[in-house]
């Protein structure tokens, strides 16, 4: 087994009484685009700062490329950071900003030239070498920050909400560029953001943190469709959750009794036993609306509270006497269900996922 790009082992970080990160174990593989997401204050930025060396863990150990980083100062670590504020040096031009790390590493003049040129070309800023940071747009400053970090060929590039200050359109463009860039340079990226969409669109794997605890690590698909907790289910998207109880286990699926619905089957994490209270998760896009039904029908139904047109799709808010508030997404250009009408509801068992209720939030 090769060494992990970053190996975080039982790390805890306290600031006085506040525990920012608790008992964190995380392994980031070489060449991976890895994201850490979570609400503000969840410990994601603290984790990144511990990898960079700006903060020392209170307990535990962090290794980069198999080498223990305990006690290693930031300027001796094989990682570079793209800061949220970019932190470009205002008194140096683009060329000198990018060359900063190479000059500190005492790289020869000719090589500095070549490598800075390469890095500037990589982020498409040719011709702006003599500009000052303040003469550049936000997107350009962002790219200088990227070039300044990548030019040092770090083993791991740490990115702290680098797109946070950009407007939506530019942010979407930069997401694509970042992903392409990561593929072409092959450097391990560790990306911190509170925006799950951003993380999902770029990452190979995502870690979700909350209150200093790691909730789940997995591919974006796993996180979205098979969340380990109701926090994860809610954080990465809208979730319809129904209370129920495990009835039995069949191969890798569970049979489950949903209150007010009856027996169904659903996927779920391994190890649930019969009788366990659970929540059944169905994503809005998997909840089908089956057209108007007559009053007093025997099927599962709900009344339409409200619909919102979002362009490519339509969000329908529903109220069901048995299941409470629901949300469904309808694609395509079909007729919107009329407000106040009653519609039939259904979902495929393959799209249902169980979350242990012990963990279920409010």
């Amino acid at each position: 087994m090769t060494d992990a790009a970053v190996d975080i082992n039982g790390v805890e970080k306290r600031f006085g009484d506040l525990v920012a990160v608790r008992n964190l174990d995380l392994r980031i593989e070489p060449g991976e685009f890895f994201s850490i997401i979570g609400p503000s204050g969840c410990g994601k930025t603290t984790t990144l700062r511990m990898i960079a060396g700006f903060e020392d863990p209170t307990a535990g150990r962090i290794s980069v490329g198999g080498r223990d980083m305990t006690g290693v100062r930031p300027y001796r670590r094989p990682v570079n950071t793209v800061f949220q504020s970019y932190a470009l040096f205002p008194h140096l031009d683009v060329f000198e900003n990018v060359a900063f790390g190479l000059r500190e590493a005492k790289v020869g003049k000719a090589e500095v030239r070549t490598r800075v040129d390469e890095a500037v070309t990589l982020v498409q800023l040719q011709g702006r070498e003599r500009s000052r940071p303040r003469q550049l747009s936000g997107g350009q400053q962002q790219r200088v920050a990227l070039a300044r970090a990548l030019v040092n060929r770090p083993e791991v590039l740490l990115l702290d909400e680098p797109l946070g200050a950009l407007d939506l359109k530019l942010r979407t463009d930069m997401q694509t560029q970042l992903k392409d860039l990561q593929r072409s340079v092959g450097v391990t990226f560790c990306y911190v953001t509170h925006d799950q969409g951003e993380a999902f669109s770029m990452s190979d794997r995502v870690a979700v943190m909350n209150h200093g605890l790691l909730e789940q690590v997995g591919t974006p698909e796993e996180i979205y469709h098979r969340p380990a907790s109701s926090f994860v289910a809610d954080f990465v998207g809208t979730a319809n959750r129904f209370a129920g109880r495990v009835e039995g286990v069949e191969a890798d699926r569970y049979s489950v009794a949903i209150d007010g619905v009856g027996p169904r089957t659903a996927g779920g994490p391994a190890g649930l036993t019969a009788g366990t209270p659970v929540q059944v998760l169905v994503r809005p896009e998997n909840l089908q609306l089956d057209g108007p039904v007559a009053d007093g029908g025997t099927g599962l139904d709900a009344s339409v509270v409200d619909t919102a047109f979002l362009g490519a799709e339509r969000t329908v808010r529903l109220h069901s006497p048995m299941l409470g508030e629901l949300s469904a997404t309808a694609r395509g250009s079909g007729q919107a269900p009329e407000q106040g009408s009653r519609v039939g509801l259904s979902w495929s068992d393959a799209d249902a996922w169980l979350i242990p209720a012990a963990d279920a939030g409010p």
């Binding site: 970019y86 932190a87 205002p90 140096l92 790390g101 940071p133 303040r134 400053q141």
Partner: protein, 276 residues
Amino acid sequence: MNVRRHPFAAGMSLLVLLFLWLPLIGVAVNSFNQQTIMAGWGGFTTHWYGLALHDQNVRTGLETTLYIAVASALLSLAIAVSGALWWRRASPKARAVYDGLIYARIILPEVVSATALFFLFLKIHFTLGLTAIVIGHTVWNSAYAAIIVQARMAGLDPALEEAAADLGATPWRTFRRVTFAALLPAIIAAGLLAFTFSFDDVVTSVFLQGASNTPLPVVILGMIRFRITPEINAIGLLVMLFTVTLMSIAVLIYATAGSLGRSGRRGNMLDIYRGR
């Protein structure tokens, strides 16, 4: 305020400007006056400038003043910069005390601090003279310098220093290439300001001079007591031009230095220091 509608304010402003500028214009004109008693205009001459520049008292006074001003400015900068570096990491309480001490030095009448130092030096048998004057000037000069340097330091984004460390710069290199480079406009401005204040000081110098050479402003004071000649006007004009030039440079550097945040504003005097 519409000046035409407030004739009183307009009249007062005019008077203030007259009282401010008339004596200065008088000094400038009389420095070229051939008539020694300056009762009237006796014709144009640059004779007094030659006299002033060759006057041994004036020359010694100037040398003494330059020595004091340079020494006091450097000492003030050392205190201000190290203070500002400490200030960033200090607790809010310690900062409040430090800031209070700065303002106390500015508010305190100069004659009080000069008297206090005079008695202190006598008590501890510290010989009065140039060193005593330098210390006396540094008492208030360092306070002005500290305010200027600290204002710049407060605008310095700590992420810049983290970025430097992240890019492999040791703490000393980070200080040199980022922190010091960012503070440089403030350091230059504060240095020039301290120099200028020291250059035209009389009160502290008189108290702490002892048996040493006399600084220029005190020399001028002595000359006026003895006899007023156009030569004094010539010296006055030269001193005035010199200090006004220095002050202008200081103000210009401080006003045009770019901001330290993410997006700077106008020009950036940090250009004069390229960080290497």
